[in-house]
Amino acid sequence: MRLPLLLALTLCAAPFAARAADTASLTVTFTGLEPRGAVNFVLVNSAEAYGDKAAPVAADRIAVTGDTASKTFEGLAPGRYAVKAFHDVNGDGKMGTNPFGIPTEPYGFSNNAKAAMGPPKWDEAAFQVNAGAGVQTISMAR
């Protein structure tokens, strides 16, 4: 969880966020889950952060108790965002990989962008968040 960063971003956006109508809320919902463990995910707002070269807007972990799990972010600056997630089925905090480095736990990306010999590119996963309430639903089903 990178709360300080989230705060910093919110503060930076403050001049533009004087009215609630100018900020965005975003509800991210993960579907197709097996009810155990947690979903670990990051919300990012740049290609750099998407490529782990800059800090994310948020990094979070939500317990999975049903076949879906959701999280709502308030006060986001409108713009381009992307989500990268994996389902930490065994609860060890890491994305499981087999000895050849292939993921053994479900993962997903915003726009339900598909992995193709590697993670989808920023352009494929990025979505627009406008002022007001937005939703992003990501299927984690394998």
Binding site: G96, N98, P99, F100, I102, P103, K114, A116, M117, G118
Partner: protein, 481 residues
């Protein structure tokens, strides 16, 4: 997730691919019927006895796997090895035979059907826009071989998990994960069954392999990692009771690209190597040097009392079938190439090694029954015909006398791999029958030939004919009644 990790096994990289324009299909050679698409499953269908009489005691099911669907409106496979896995069952009872065929329900097939195009990359087919390649099993064609494990059949590819199939109706039961932390690890299509019933297999990624050891019912006994001296293309391997024997040909993976076959370079100057590893302790190993040769398939290995190891295989001068002709088959433009030749590798305790070639064109080497004696025979497809991509006959080679027992149907009979079926109550390495399907292009039908394994030259003791042609299959297994 690291991009390079996903590049790992079969999930090689590619920018959105350029699709090679298909060669215009003008007049197709007659053999192309054996590589045509099957568009729908085939329900159980009686075959007609067209030659001889069914031998008493021959009863059970011959299961066979191989690619069966290659072309889709929005784009097709570019290599024979990339067609959708098609499981077939030839069932023999009371002197009658039936045939049925059902596609294996893989994520790859589903994705390609949904796209109305072959978008999923493979051995010789690039990734195309819309491909989903999150792990090896997204691209698993399940199209090379079939193994019986407990009450299931496992359709095997070589770079993904086994996929279980119900032997009763050939329906797909799902991907088999042998241990949660080993999900999506590759499993070769040519596992080796030891005298104790244990099944050994490999999964290869560059110069590393996972070594699988399973009980006969498919339960995982152990999985260990093995480092190899080079990143050879490995399709098959052999075992003795004590050793794993890996033929490391100089077709080595030196880059990550799609299709997979393009990530290998032929480096004859490196020669071939054979890595022999003690099953009990992988640090006990020996590397033998051999002249360069390419091989897909080996028969089996045996070990003399003095520690000498021998194994048979079919050796080609280079990987041109894997690289070029496997592609040409899809467009009906197969070019004449030097056929693989039957050879026997000998690895001596003093470190010397050699290959004895008998100069006989051969593929699909198989063994007869396991006996107490050192193994004597290799069974193989034989009768190489110019400009035709399959063999026209069947033979056994006697390593003791050097004699061949062969039958050649002549042009128009594209022989598939033969499987040995022991005679109930029989003994001896060749005491039984050889069952081999074939595409008879003159009759326009798939046939099933049964030979007496000790009298191949007499021709088939009986032949059943199906009322249709199935694409030629690769490998099979027989399950007695």
């Amino acid at each position: 997730m690291d991009r390079r990790q996903l590049l790992g096994a079969f999930c090689a990289t590619a920018a959105a691919s350029l699709i090679t324009p298909e060669v215009a299909r003008a007049a197709q050679p007659t053999w192309s019927a054996a590589f045509a698409d099957l568009d729908a499953d085939v329900p159980r269908t009686p075959m007609t006895l067209v030659r001889g009489r069914a031998p008493a005691g021959l009863a059970g099911s011959l299961y066979r796997n191989g690619p069966g669907k290659f072309r889709r409106p929005g784009g097709s496979v570019e290599h024979w090895f990339d067609g959708d896995g098609l499981m077939r069952a030839y069932r023999i009872a009371d002197g009658r035979a039936t045939v049925e065929a059902r596609f294996i329900d893989t994520p790859k097939r589903r994705a390609d059907i949904a796209a109305n195009a072959v978008v999923t990359p493979g051995f010789g087919t690039p990734a195309r826009p819309g491909a989903k390649v999150g792990d090896n099993d997204d691209v698993n064609a399940a199209n090379i071989s079939v193994m019986r494990v407990g009450g299931e059949l496992w359709a095997l590819w070589e770079a993904g998990s086994p996929i279980a199939v119900d032997p009763a109706d050939l329906s797909t039961k799902g991907v088999r994960t042998l241990r949660d932390d080993l999900k999506h690890m590759p499993f070769l299509a040519h596992p080796s069954r030891g005298p104790d019933g244990d099944v050994w297999s490999l999964g290869v990624n560059g110069s590393k392999a996972i070594v699988w050891r399973l009980a006969a019912d498919g339960t995982l006994k152990e999985a260990r990692m093995l480092d190899m001296p080079r990143a050879s293309y490995i399709h098959d391997f052999v075992t003795t009771p004590r050793h794993l024997v890996l033929y490391l040909q100089p077709w080595v993976q030196d880059r990550f690209t799609t299709p997979y076959a393009d990530s290998f370079s032929w480096r004859p100057e490196m020669g071939s190597q054979v890595l022999v590893v003690d099953k009990a302790d992988f640090s006990r190993r020996r590397v033998y040097e051999l002249p360069p040769a390419f091989a897909f398939h080996f028969g089996g290995a045996w070990e003399d009392a003095d520690g000498t190891i021998r194994f048979d295989g079919c050796f080609s001068p280079d990987p041109s079938f894997a690289r070029e002709n496997g592609r040409s088959l899809m467009t009906g433009t197969y070019k004449r190439q030097a056929p693989p030749l039957l050879g026997l590798v000998t690895l001596r305790p003093d470190g010397k090694a050699g290959v004895e070639s008998v100069g006989v064109a051969a593929e699909f080497p198989r063994n007869g029954a396991r006996t107490a004696e050192p193994r004597r025979y290799t069974i193989h497809a034989a009768g190489d015909a110019p400009d035709v991509p399959m063999f026209n006959g069947l033979a056994s080679h006697d390593w003791k006398t050097g004699r061949a027992d062969a039958f050649n149907f002549g042009a128009g009979m594209l022989m598939e791999e033969a499987v040995f079926v022991a005679r109930p109550g029989g003994s001896g390495e060749l005491d039984g029958w050889l069952l081999a399907p074939a595409v008879n292009t003159k009759a326009g039908a798939t046939e099933l030939h049964a030979f007496d394994a000790r009298r191949i030259a007499d021709g088939p003791v009986c032949t059943w004919r199906a009322p249709l042609t199935l694409p030629v299959s690769l490998h099979g297994t027989f399950v007695g009644a």
